[in-house]
Subunit: 253 residues, 2 copies
């Protein structure tokens, strides 16, 4: 692990195995290669199946392995660095926006969203769904919550449904002067609809990026973006897009 | 869930149960309260134990529940917003730094760190361990990797070990002119030593924040900070410290 002088804590057996497996992945396997079955692996490393499974789960959590039904366990490609802009404060849908508008609806938001938007609990808001694709793969799904007060002219406009409707909401929102925004990143689990869009199972670990957009002295819009935690590394800062090859997830192990 | 118009995807049974449980937590339980045992809960909601367990696991992933051996399953407090500065680019240990220096050692870094630092694979670097406490609880553990070339004067200085040694490395590092930095956030699993420091089990999900510090046209230092994923929400931006009450993790459900 390279930092042994600092490690006074005994590590569980599966953890040591994880380290050994990780080195084997580097030296003996290529990205996309299918691992031998659990029985053979357990035999090779002289461990119990249960110990092996724990180690494989860790490597999956760290993005080193992918487990796909019908395929087996494969060596994962390095995580994709997905830039989360923080310098430039812009409205969704402006600038070099990596998001594609999918649909829009009007519905009551979750309680926490209503709280953040300071709208009454059951008051319907515009809910714009967008999706983000990186290197040809879906990496994130977003729900953008826009109070009707932020887009007053919209209700009067008879816009079609689908992407056109979503873009109409964004266009109206962009009429406001953006005063500021902030972001939070935390661990979550994929909702069924997000999971389908991200080609994951419901409940899969995701990184949830919540962005508040401030205008007219209030929260004019709230974005809840769900990123695949297995394939994504969220990058921040000027050169944030730069890849650290074979990935910081390695540094956590 | 408030966005039913957008949800064409059928949700698995445990997922529906999770939503029902989540509402019950809001209306019937207080933070720190111990949940009834699984048998009673399964009976009350009329589901199989396996289904209940899946739902409980989801709620734990989203930070709503905490499972502690000997205590049982308790209602978790809202996640703590931990500010990750991005505007001001400063060296570790300067400004209103929330980190405490713990120790320092000289050892070969993990392969991915050596790659990021562009140092030879086996070349030893200074490894400074720091820890971050928020609201009285340990929230993050950091390993700061500093190539000896970044602190040339240090090797000549006979500094004691422990925090004093760690601070000496930081002081020397701060002599360089910081030209820039970038950050990446991703999902990882807690190393044994970090886990102990964070009061977690090895392999627990963590948010890994990797920061590269640039000086003299190269990566002069690399920080790998491990945050508790269950209790932390990483916040970015001017008003990033502002709490969104009862937490964006709710918005992911």
């Amino acid at each position: 692990m390279g930092t042994t002088q600092l490690e006074s804590v005994p590590e569980p057996k599966y953890w040591h195995l994880k380290t050994v497996l990780s080195e084997a992945l580097d030296s003996e396997f290529t990205v996309g290669e299918i691992l031998p079955n659990e029985r053979d692996l357990a035999a090779r490393f002289g461990v119990a199946r249960a110990t092996l499974r724990q180690a494989l789960e860790q490597l999956e959590l760290e993005g080193r392995l992918q487990r796909r039904r019908g395929v087996g366990t494969t060596v994962a490609p390095p995580r994709v660095g997905v830039a989360i802009g923080t310098e430039h404060q812009i409205w969704p849908g402006t600038g070099d926006d990596a998001w594609q508008a999918v649909d829009s609806a009007v519905a009551a938001p979750p309680a926490a969203v209503a709280t953040a938007l300071q709208t009454p609990r059951e008051q319907a808001v515009h809910i714009v769904r967008r999706s983000r694709v990186s290197q040809g793969r879906p990496v994130a799904a977003e729900l953008l919550y826009v109070p009707q007060a932020s887009v007053p002219a919209l209700t009067a406009i008879d816009t079609p449904s689908g992407p056109a409707r979503a873009r109409a909401v964004l266009r109206e929102l962009q009429r406001l002067e953006l005063e500021g925004q902030d972001r939070a990143v935390e661990l979550g689990s994929a909702r069924a609809d997000d999971a389908k869009e991200l080609d994951r199972l419901p409940g899969a670990p995701v990184l949830v990026v919540t962005t508040r957009f401030f205008a007219e002295g209030r929260t004019a819009a709230l974005s809840v973006a769900t990123y695949r935690a297995d394939t994504c590394r969220l990058t921040f800062g000027a050169s944030g897009g730069v890849e650290i090859h074979d990935g910081p997830e390695r540094q956590a192990s």
